[in-house]
Point group: C2
Chain length 332, copies 2
């Protein structure tokens, strides 16, 4: 392995290994986001899909299909489908969160309006099912319809428990499976299904996507409070938005009456002053909430790698394993 | 036929003829709108589905299946699916239109919030695909995925041409097919498909739903300007919302320079004063725009009835024909 290759990040190595397939996916995305009658649809979609996301989810589908020795064309369809569902979710999330920035650019709802984000999201979601239908696989349709329902359910759950100090880790995990892990696990699973992989391999790839997605979200939660070491940049968004993220849930579980009064004021009632974020982090550190979140993120990353033991030995398997390491590299 | 029966409306007679099937559909709606993790989902859904809509769309699916002699259970699934897609559309429409009333009750986005309406709509849409998957019919999935894409595309198109005085009747028809007719025609078509009806019958039932939906929307457009006779109650909403409905498009096509200046001020720029609605109606009448809209609505209703000539003779066929008459009865 040359130094150059060693220096690239694992998702970049995966992108290199899947370059022809990803080119086909990008071509299909451009082709299928078109609308004969409503030119706003490709405008809004292009703003988002060309914003330089890593395309991790469609790559997971392509990787799973390649690992399983798939030789047909439908992995391109399914990877496109997964990216369309993801894009539809982002469009609706920005309306739900009233966001004005995503990937460092103004959101579609800011550049156009909320109606465009809602309706273009609906269009992409419908398009994704049209593309799935072309594969002729009812099982694939079932898996992605289930994932879509889990995503929406997780988002509604997040909405209803937001600012609720009694949120349990169990509820947190349901929200995270909806927000993040459901599409990761469906992405890898449909790659196996379309390849006719046996049940053990399909389950292993599902488990990998599920654990990777959960680890991914826990790392995000942790970094938003600066990680376990020094306080980094751009921290505190979750605190200001009063999100019941894992470090907060773990801290609340061990808080005394004074600390609970602090959480009630800052999170439940949303009355935040200067110094409150530092105080929140101090309480989290005192109770080992950041360390415990880190341990869980690492455990899910390890679980993702373990799942890969049941899939065929392949250079792609090594890359997927490296991605599971990479997700937690920032906190390890 | 007793006087009692003669006095009922055709959609009520259809509801009577399909009472056992509609009971099964209502049971499935209640069962499938549940969410183990997010109780807000059934709350929001129940608010809408129990608001006393006529359930015309699911009845069209059941009617088509019955006409075609279907003996299985999947017509219940498909009728539920059609109602879920319709409900999801209504939830998103209320966010798009910033409505606060639907069917005489406060909208879900007013009672809860926009995020709930967006996400519960997404959930119902995903659920509808899950239920379709249970039928095992890829063709049905294709038809309803296509209809969903047409709906979203029509709504985006409506958004982008709103207040645009150059909107053509061709564009209007595309918007109407999206907003209304696509789900009507898919509802009847999937009833035929699940029954294994031959191609001619399937096409006839598709054509019936398409023409019925278009007629339905044109009648709505006309009544919003008071119809061709006296000025009724609750008119002028489309004028105030500056919608390019059919009477307006037809009037614009024949307007002189002074009249165009009036449309530019009131519709394109939205500067409306007392007396403008009366003036708009006067211009429409002068150019025969209301009469011409009425004629088109009647022609689409006739086309719906004509389509039924290719389907089996059956009491349900008579009821569908009567529904096509009933839709235009208010303007005839």
């Amino acid at each position: 392995m040359s130094l150059d290759v060693a220096a690239t990040k694992p998702h970049e190595r995966l992108a290199q290994a899947l370059a022809p397939e990803m080119a086909a996916v990008n071509a299909m995305i451009r082709e299928r986001m078109a609308s004969e009658h409503a030119p706003r649809i490709p405008e809004v979609t292009a703003h988002l899909v060309e914003a330089g996301g890593k395309r991790l989810r469609p790559m997971l589908t392509l990787a799973a299909a390649k690992l399983c020795g798939y030789t047909g064309d439908y992995h391109i369809h399914l990877a496109t489908t997964v990216e369309f569902i993801h894009t539809a979710t982002l469009l609706h999330d920005d309306v739900v969160d009233e966001s004005d920035q995503r990937r460092g650019r103004p959101t579609a709802n800011l550049l156009w309006d909320n109606p465009s984000s809602v309706l273009v999201g609906d269009y992409l979601f419908s398009r994704s099912f049209q593309i799935m239908v072309e594969t002729g696989s009812i099982r694939v349709l079932g898996i992605l319809a289930d994932a879509s329902a889990t995503i929406a359910e997780g988002e509604v759950l997040q909405l209803t428990v937001s600012r609720d100090l009694s949120t349990s880790e169990d509820t947190y995990l349901k929200v995270v499976r909806g927000k993040t892990a459901a599409l990761f696990s469906a992405a890898t699973q449909v790659g196996a299904v379309i390849s006719g992989a046996d049940q053990a391999v399909e389950q292993a790839l599902y488990d990998y996507g599920d654990a990777l997605g959960i680890s991914f979200q826990m790392v995000d939660d942790l970094l938003d409070y600066g990680g376990t070491e020094a306080i980094g940049k751009n921290i505190g968004d979750d605190f200001r938005e009063r999100k019941l993220s894992l470090p907060l849930i773990k801290a609340i579980a061990k808080s005394d009456a004074d600390e609970m009064a602090f959480w009630t004021r800052t999170i439940a009632k949303g009355k935040q002053d200067d110094g409150d974020l530092e105080q929140a982090i101090a309480i989290m550190k005192k109770h080992g909430a950041l360390e415990a979140t880190r341990d869980e993120a690492l455990a899910w990353s390890a679980k993702a790698k373990e799942s890969l033991q049941s899939v065929p030995d392949h250079e792609i398997r090594t890359m997927l394993s490296d991605i599971a390491d990479y997700v937690v590299a920032r906190i390890n």
